[in-house]
Amino acid sequence: MSRSGIFSFISFFLYLLVQVLILKKIVLFNTSFCFLYVAFILLLPIEINNLLLMLIAFLLGFSIDIFYDSLGIHAFALVVVAYARNYWLNSITPQGGYDAGEGPTLAVNGFQWFLVYTMPLVFLHHMVLFFIEAGGFSLFWFTMLKVIGSFFFTMTIMVVLQYLSSDNRRRR
């Protein structure tokens, strides 16, 4: 296993534990959740195989589901994100293409690109997640409120973490 492979392997469990032990308890205004684990799928290396990516997404979603007692829901939403990710990455390739061996991170590709990359995918994830959980569109606006609230919460934490970790990268 390569160095980045081992790094990803460890961060898989890190994201899982942080999500189920800490972030699960943090809910703002009864409506805004933080689903940081999406970032794990979004930040995997660009050239990763699509099939592998979906399998990893399924495993991560499934593990999260065990702790949330919502068998299948998180796995479903995360596999959707994993499927859409590589197509989305292809269609927003910056001029000159991606640097080989780099992840799609804020440090490498810039703030604006990072927002364009993550926002639709995170939003997609939250939409799928909350509407499946609500079991339909009967509470449409309340569910929408949850989606939007959680969207901003997750995005904020994700971007802040990107800035924290990008400092480490420059020092290296």
Partner: protein
Amino acid sequence: MERLLNFVYQYRAFFTFLFLELLCAWMIVENNQYQSTKFFNSSNKLAANIIGISQGVREYFSLRMTNSILAEENARLRTQLEKRNQSLYKLEVREIKDPAIINRFEYVSAKVVNNSTNFFKNYITINQGRNAGITPGMAVISSDGAVGKVKSVSDHYSVLISLLNIDENVSSVIKRTHHFGTAKWDGTNPRQINLMYVPRHVKPLVGDTVVTSGYNAIFPEGVLVGVIKEVNLKEEALFYDIKVELAQDFGKLTFVEIVKSNLKHERDSLETKTIGEPK
């Protein structure tokens, strides 16, 4: 054949996607069924252990409050016991003499290790399971009121369906008027629940107590659900819209009691014989 294989290979990403999503959809549907003994939820050993450790740390921060709640409950129960003793002191009368009826309900105490209030379908994990005699379908109450029903059990843990779950119904009674309805959460406010199917001719008032009816043999009769907070009657509606403030604050749940209903089996089989299988 070769072309078919080629086709599948060419769109392998899409087919994998489809396969995984169908798998997930199947799991979601399976998991929605009311009672089940599933392995993949937070009653599974590894998951429950991790949650248990994390809860153990968190507990230290609420020890003071938990203590005072338990002490209050103790005092209240002691008062009740004393009243009962005094009233039975000379009277040798008892309406019911059959020990099977007197010992109809047994209680098992358990600690909450995992709880949520903000999803549409909330579940609670507790630290007692099959080894303590718990089976799916049992009712769970706390010192403040009704909490939920057991959904699935493992050896040492169980997962409960909280009252705050849009799939959960509890047969309830307005204590003052004795009219019954169904208490059901609408998924929005974790402090209140709706009481449905109370017909027009009843006159419920704000402040009336709502308790469980005991009609479904799961909950004992008269467990507090909450207090009526809002009563609305639309012009053309058949039933009232009643909002009930929950007696139990689910955000603060620490200890619960599981109710073992010893006569449930007998009653269910009698009802099945008479009315037919429940759907």
